[in-house]
Symmetry: D2
Subunit: 163 residues, 4 copies
DNA sequence: TTTT
DNA sequence: TTTT
């Protein structure tokens, strides 16, 4: 369909250490549980109330999975941008179940660490550059124009995509 | 929790006419089914493929529900901005189920019609102004500053929230 | 116009302490300078490069201005959500100038603190509740449904907007 | 910097036909003028008011530029997702000027047509697939997982990026 | 002018 | 300069 957008943006904390699994052919899949909370003052009672929402985040990208594995842990605060997907599965009793997840897979997906506590670099993912395209957020991997001379062969989107 | 964001942005088409229900005390709740699609060319086969995702959108807002009721129908294209919420319920067999929905409820929620086919006004919601704050999108209900004289008592956020 | 969206989302750090001014009739206006940065590895040289972008953020909302005044300072990390506005003005030499700013004014605007360093509460804005609707991010001020009994008169958007 | 986000989302109409220029080395750059509008009812006068904001959108991507050239024209409605950049230049009188633009360049950029009027396909960009990764919106170019067998070598982000 |  |  033309003209479709499916985007989720979350900022929250990991409720547990990430789980990294591998497909049969060796590609990693990272699973995160992220909590977002909202608080408000109840209008009738005047009490402060809070509500926490838990999100399942699934990452199908090798570079991002490395970042997750190396830098994220229970309590880490992250920004994630992905898309909604609902998956159907059958449990051991033959009951159909649905799970809706925030999937980071394609080129519009982003994961950014928002606390520097977990790594020395706080998003600076080291010399192997594993996470260079993703770990430092949505702008990563982008080549700023104008910094480069107009006649240069770089500064183009084609050039700097790290995956 | 401080520093939490939970935001979903969808552009898609209604797969069916909206369902409007009412709570016991008479407040409306609108349910939408929205499809988003993505297409891509398979790298190995070279075939064009397509995948459609269906989203449950629930609207807890009287003004927005009126807009939905009056202008949206099967096939309408909309922009919605809301938040993810997962609801637990028990089916008739006593099995626990979960449903993840995009909820439009608070002041950060938006619904915008993206086709003019369904109404003469295409988002211009008539003299009763039922939808004035929502139907024309996120900026609606906002008072542009600078258009108003600096000494005016309006132009403030307090003044023009229509709900 | 129907079907219009104008939204900016930034996560960055304040390059200076906020400036708070007041209109003639006493309403506050906060100005922030926010830096966002992107880094990438140059494809030809292999060097790591970085580029910083500076944004002007203007806040026309009393509650948000209080939060800014109390908790933000040079170096603070924030999430802001607002809209793009370009303003024309004439300098002292009679030259026309344009300034494009990220404006937080209407009900779709959000400001969230992303570091707890600046306040004990890290977004928990105390008993006077000055920032209750904004400081804890986009979901704030929202009334979670379903937590409230279905027959309650609250849980509606109308009820809990704090401004 | 770690933890930085710079994102603009617009839905609006083109105020003029796109302008496509080329760099010295032949890469295309598309310039769009996009209008977004907001309307509200003035609280004191009760009048309906409207305000239009004009945005400069610059596209540094060959595939996206082809889509723009082929399908967009004055009046077209589009969804764009890019980042804010302010550019400094000196006019013919030696006066320094600044221009803030919404730049679509990197892998997080998106352009989606929201009206089908301009093309038969309404985002279906033909056999040469020029726009396949962009024209159908943010999810485009993504390989849905789970549709592919788990042992497959595709379904990975690496596989289907069209640029 | 921030941050890493 | 768009759109409704």
């Amino acid at each position: 369909m033309a003209g479709s957008v499916n985007k989720v943006i979350l900022i929250g904390n990991l409720g547990a250490d990430p789980e990294i699994k591998r497909t049969q052919d060796g590609r990693p899949i990272a699973n995160l549980r992220i909590a977002t909370s909202e608080s408000w003052r109840d209008r009738t009672s005047g009490e402060r109330k809070e509500r926490t929402e838990w999100h399942r985040v699934v990452i199908f990208n090798e570079g991002l999975c490395k970042v997750v594995e190396q830098y994220l842990k229970k309590g880490s605060k992250v920004y994630v941008e992905g898309q909604l997907q609902t998956r159907k599965w059958t449990d051991q009793n033959g009951v159909e179940k649905y799970s809706t997840e925030v999937v980071l897979q394609n080129f519009n997906s982003t994961l950014t660490m928002l606390d520097g506590r977990n790594s020395g670099g706080g998003g600076n993912f080291g010399p192997d550059d594993a996470g260079s395209g993703f770990g430092s957020g949505s702008p990563s991997g982008a080549a700023p124009r104008r910094a480069a001379p107009a006649s240069s062969h770089r500064g183009d989107m084609d050039d700097d995509i790290p995956f």
